[in-house]
Symmetry: C2
Subunit: 171 residues, 2 copies
DNA sequence: TTTTTATGAATGCAATTGCATGTAAATATA
DNA sequence: TATATTTACATGCAATTGCATTCATAAAAA
């Protein structure tokens, strides 16, 4: 995530070229559009993500995943969250979250507290440094989203995209 | 990102909750929708990709990146392509493409040929085994796209998504 | 109450990725 | 023609990720 998630720019192109144009039916052209759009979805989202993360990097800020965790912990401050709760919200693999938390703790942005209700884990809480970092990253990140993403779509298109994405995330 | 491209599910949620509802202006609600949609775009595309790649994995097939390369080389068979041309089409980092090609050559799906016109590089060509593997992967991959992606949208929605993605990929 | 199963979290190991660098060849410049 | 710069590709090293496993604790079942 790549990333593994390198684009499939050629899929639509190759598929179009592999289809015998003389035998092109309505069904195959519909299939072509779908594959084409799928490849574009992957390529575009990756392209935008790379651009936005590059802005953070230029500003010498940590990756977006740090921002995510800090934002989540800030939201529930001072209560804190269990790692499995963060994992659910952020859709990050358990073993990666464990390591990510390690780094945030080492950097002083997060602290682990013993969980009295469940001896297996702990509560994660944001520190003062963490609040500062999140506040520092926020405008840069929001600006990057504006520059690379929002600026390209009309409000009606943004709403359409949102509606479509809701349909795509459902089962 | 894949990946690094773990979802930002909480961004929209957290932003919404951090906004003082009483002071919510039209501008801030528009900003909220944009950030919300951005986070959904990343999360949904990653979610779909993971599901589709899982289908390939279940079928004991190589990752999508192998398919990409094979498809591109099949398209231009028997002419072949230079690695930098593949890199442009697939939007993969040069150092990763180099290693990916290594693996495909070792596995017998691709072969490197000396490029007479340019001694710095070589031409990449698909082998018979490579053609077989591409043909084997194709229906599984297309089925997975159908199952996880196409089935969820009406044709008009697919067209809308395609139009929006075209706008997003432009500068 | 005891035993079995599930859950939460950390970690070893291997594979992959990100980055910078090096080398050879091609191209541009003087 | 000679020199400088750019390009194509491979690779060393460090960091990250994927996977399976392990251990401690909680919950469920007997």
């Amino acid at each position: 995530m790549y990333v593994k998630l390198d684009a499939f720019a050629c899929i639509c192109q190759n598929h179009r070229m592999n289809i015998d144009n003389k035998m092109k039916t309505k069904r195959s052209s519909l299939t072509d559009i779908r594959i084409n759009t799928w490849a574009k979805l992957l390529r575009v989202s990756q392209y935008l993500f790379a651009n936005i993360e590059a802005d953070l990097k230029s500003a010498r800020l940590p990756p977006l995943s740090w921002y995510d965790v800090l934002l989540e912990l800030k939201r529930v401050d001072p209560k804190g969250l269990r790692p499995f709760q963060l994992q659910e919200n952020l859709l990050i693999a358990q073993y990666n979250l464990s390591r990510l938390i390690d780094k945030l703790v080492t950097a002083g942005y997060v602290r682990r507290e013993i969980c009295k209700q469940d001896g297996r884990g702990h509560s994660l809480k944001i520190t003062e440094s963490g609040l500062d970092l999140q506040k520092q990253m926020s405008p840069i990140y929001l600006q990057a989203i504006g520059d690379h993403f929002s600026v390209k779509l009309e409000d009606s298109e943004m709403q359409s995209l949102d509606d479509i994405l809701i349909k795509l995330q459902n089962h």
